[in-house]
């Protein structure tokens, strides 16, 4: 039931805002928690969806929006704004289930409410050997018409053997 998740997430953000005085710390904490969730979520995702390895970033983008988002949040964001090098794109969410029932009060204008999502995406992709940078560029909570997440491919993570082994 998505309301359970939405409400729990809301309670979490509220609690974090109480614990940390400034929005930046809350954002960082959300990102860290999201990262921890993401590294585990990817296993669950791969087990359920049975998708094979993605050959390039475009395929990754498709899998994220059409399969992963649909599976976990019930929405299919659209993919736009590809950079000329094919290493950056935007996910546009018409509606963000995390922010159902949510309004940002004025004294938290720099809070990135859904920052957990950035951490999740980052953590999950790191487990499949992709280092990415994820951030929100538009947010309906701040008055924008859609929520936009920008994802940038940084590099492929090579499996590093521990020093001394060959």
């Amino acid at each position: 039931n998505s309301e359970l998740f939405t409400l729990t997430y809301g309670a979490l953000v509220t609690q974090l805002c109480k614990d940390y005085e400034n929005d930046e710390d809350v954002n960082k904490q959300l990102d860290k928690m999201g990262y921890n969730i993401g590294v585990r979520l990817i296993e669950d995702f791969l087990a359920r969806s049975n998708v094979g390895r993605c050959h390039d970033f475009r395929e990754t983008a498709d899998v994220i929006s059409k399969i992963a988002f649909k599976m976990y949040l019930g929405i299919t964001p659209s993919i736009t704004n590809w950079s000329p090098g094919g290493d950056e794109f935007s996910l546009i969410l018409e509606n963000n289930p995390l922010v159902d029932f949510v309004e940002l009060p004025d004294n938290h204008s720099s809070l990135i409410y859904s920052n957990l999502l950035c951490g999740v995406l980052r953590g999950a992709l790191e487990m499949v050997q992709m280092a990415v940078d994820v951030k929100f560029v538009q947010d309906t909570l701040k008055g924008d018409s859609v929520t936009e997440i920008r994802m940038k491919f940084i590099r492929r993570i090579e499996d590093n053997l521990p020093a001394g082994e060959e």
């Binding site: 039931n1 998505s2 309301e3 359970l4 998740f5 939405t6 409400l7 729990t8 997430y9 809301g10 309670a11 979490l12 509220t14 609690q15 614990d19 904490q29 860290k32 928690m33 921890n36 969730i37 585990r40 979520l41 669950d44 599976m71 976990y72 949040l73 019930g74 289930p97 029932f101 957990l116």
Partner: protein, 150 residues
């Protein structure tokens, strides 16, 4: 429709995150459990409002407890409470033999001392739900062997 796995992961991460923060800085263990419980309380209040929008009025306390055991528990944990007992004097024991939030942790007595952390949120959930239905309550949990709990 958010997947159950997502909620499970979020919940576990919340427990872990709060305790991590407590270790590093201020606050003793007791405060973490209280925070988790109060988060559950808020969520429980909200959830019960959404669920009971269209249902009929409850006849009495027992009816409310049955609702919690069947519909509420099913919506949240995808299964019903296995056993409900009462002394008809205000004490109710809900037993779940395969509590969803504990199944991934252990199947027996290992890690028993960590179990209460994972139950705090759910206790709050029940307390919040009951509170919005007009019942003031105290909810505690007991685990003797995972994943069953009362």
């Amino acid at each position: 429709m958010a997947d159950e796995a997502l909620f499970l992961l979020l919940h576990n991460e919340m427990v872990a995150g709060l305790y991590r923060a407590a270790e590093q800085g201020e606050g003793e263990n007791g405060r973490c459990t209280t925070k988790l419980e109060s988060m559950g309380f808020r969520v429980g209040q909200g959830l019960i409002e959404r669920f009971t929008k269209d249902t009929a009025r409850f006849k009495d306390e027992l009816d409310i407890m049955k609702f919690i055991c069947k519909d509420f528990w099913t919506t949240v944990f995808k299964k019903q409470i296995d056993n409900l007992r009462t002394n008809h004097q205000g004490i109710y024991v809900l037993q779940d033999n395969k509590f969803r939030l504990l199944t991934q942790i252990s199947a027996g007595k290992q890690y028993l001392e960590h179990a209460p952390k994972y139950l705090a949120f759910t206790c709050g959930l029940i307390r919040g739900g009951l509170s919005n239905l007009g019942i003031k309550s105290i909810v505690t949990a007991e685990v003797s062997s995972m994943p069953a709990c009362k």
